[in-house]
Symmetry: C2
Subunit: 230 residues, 2 copies
């Protein structure tokens, strides 16, 4: 379990504890143990996932040498998830390449390359929109690491918009796992992203993932507000 | 009037005539001259505007030599508008450049560079979202042509989403010039672009302009349908 061998940073730990306290407080509130006007309020965060890949043990060995490990470049918002120091070059048909594509850790059971539509055009690959993990029948690409080359025969997708949430968040919104909801982004480029897939798990924190095309279309960085709607 | 010196292609002429016939027919219908179940139905078209620029006489002279003219590479959907054969390189602060940026004709009173948010990041310029023509206080860039270099001190924008429409289209939708409406794009990346500015003019044809970030975010090319809503 590579997830367990990596010490969790203070920032991620604090987020998890804060979420647990808020949920516990809400439970006591609904059980009538405490009396307060405030109920559980989800803390909505929207982040942009730049192009990246997840790798399996076998492929990490191939790219970075046998027994190599992913090391932390930057911790992400979801508990235990991190951008690794390890980067690769991905190459599409007709030898078009994108350099410095970061691996996200920890390792996974299957290698998966997640790119935007803009990246797909640049690479010349028809990446279908898929939820993470649903990579059957998708195109492949060539991945170039410092110690070897990998010819993926499938695994290149454009990640479907999704929102990670805890059961408490889902209950607060009235959503269920697998439901499609809407994200409204307010600002100078107001946009409602529809078809946002709810992924509910107690290990998650509430966070919407958009790709760079979506983030740039709505100018997320300068957005004045975000809301999640049925 | 450079607009008048360029012969209009058969395709554009046909579109204009078809629109005029449809509008005339609708008028006669509402005047009771003809009796038919069919009313005027707007023909909604959504197109992606890639990065481009409009140039004034003085700046075209500077970039391509005195007295040079724009020549037609491809006619656009709007009557009289065309992508020119002439392209330039635009250069942002810190010497980052984007090559092969096409000029759109005919010439205009003021030079204006329209780029996406992705382009703005690549160039390192803070391009504000503006309706076409509203370029006061915007950043500039360097424009490189085959015969000269231009230092624009303003004019770089991200064009605000907008829809061109005839008065008949506006009436059919119940919209007015200057109103902000919504464009819903159906498909695998369903998206509602809000804040779409209505520009009503009898010389227009009904067409929504998105930029490449917006087009890629909703995967417009594979969209199954589009609709314009209040």
């Amino acid at each position: 379990m590579s997830r367990l061998t990596i010490p969790m940073p203070r920032e991620q730990l604090e987020r998890i504890v804060r979420q647990a306290v808020r949920e516990r407080f809400a439970e006591r509130l609904s059980a009538g143990e405490v009396k307060l006007a405030a109920a559980y309020t989800p803390n909505l965060v929207v982040n942009i996932s730049a192009r990246h890949l997840h790798v399996c043990r076998e492929h990490l060995d191939r790219l970075f040498g046998p027994g190599s490990e992913l090391t932390v470049y930057r911790w992400l918002y979801q508990p235990g998830e991190f951008a690794a120091e390890q980067t690769v070059t991905i190459i599409g048909p007709r030898q078009r390449a994108i350099q410095n594509v970061r691996i996200l850790g920890p390792m996974r059971a299957a290698t998966q390359v997640e790119i935007s539509h803009t990246d797909a055009i640049a690479l010349g690959v028809e990446a279908p929109v898929r939820p993470s993990g649903k990579i059957e029948g998708t195109p492949g690409c060539v991945v170039l690491g410092p110690k070897g080359v990998l010819e993926l025969d499938h695994g290149v997708i454009r990640a479907a918009r999704h929102v990670h949430m805890t059961p408490a968040d889902a209950a607060a919104y009235g959503f269920r796992d697998g439901q499609y909801v809407r994200l409204r982004v307010h600002g100078e480029c107001p946009t409602a992203f529809e078809g946002v897939l709810c992924r509910v798990d107690p290990r998650f924190l509430l966070e919407v993932h958009l790709d760079t095309d979506e983030g740039n279309a709505c100018d997320l960085v300068n957005a004045t507000g975000v809301e999640l709607l049925a």
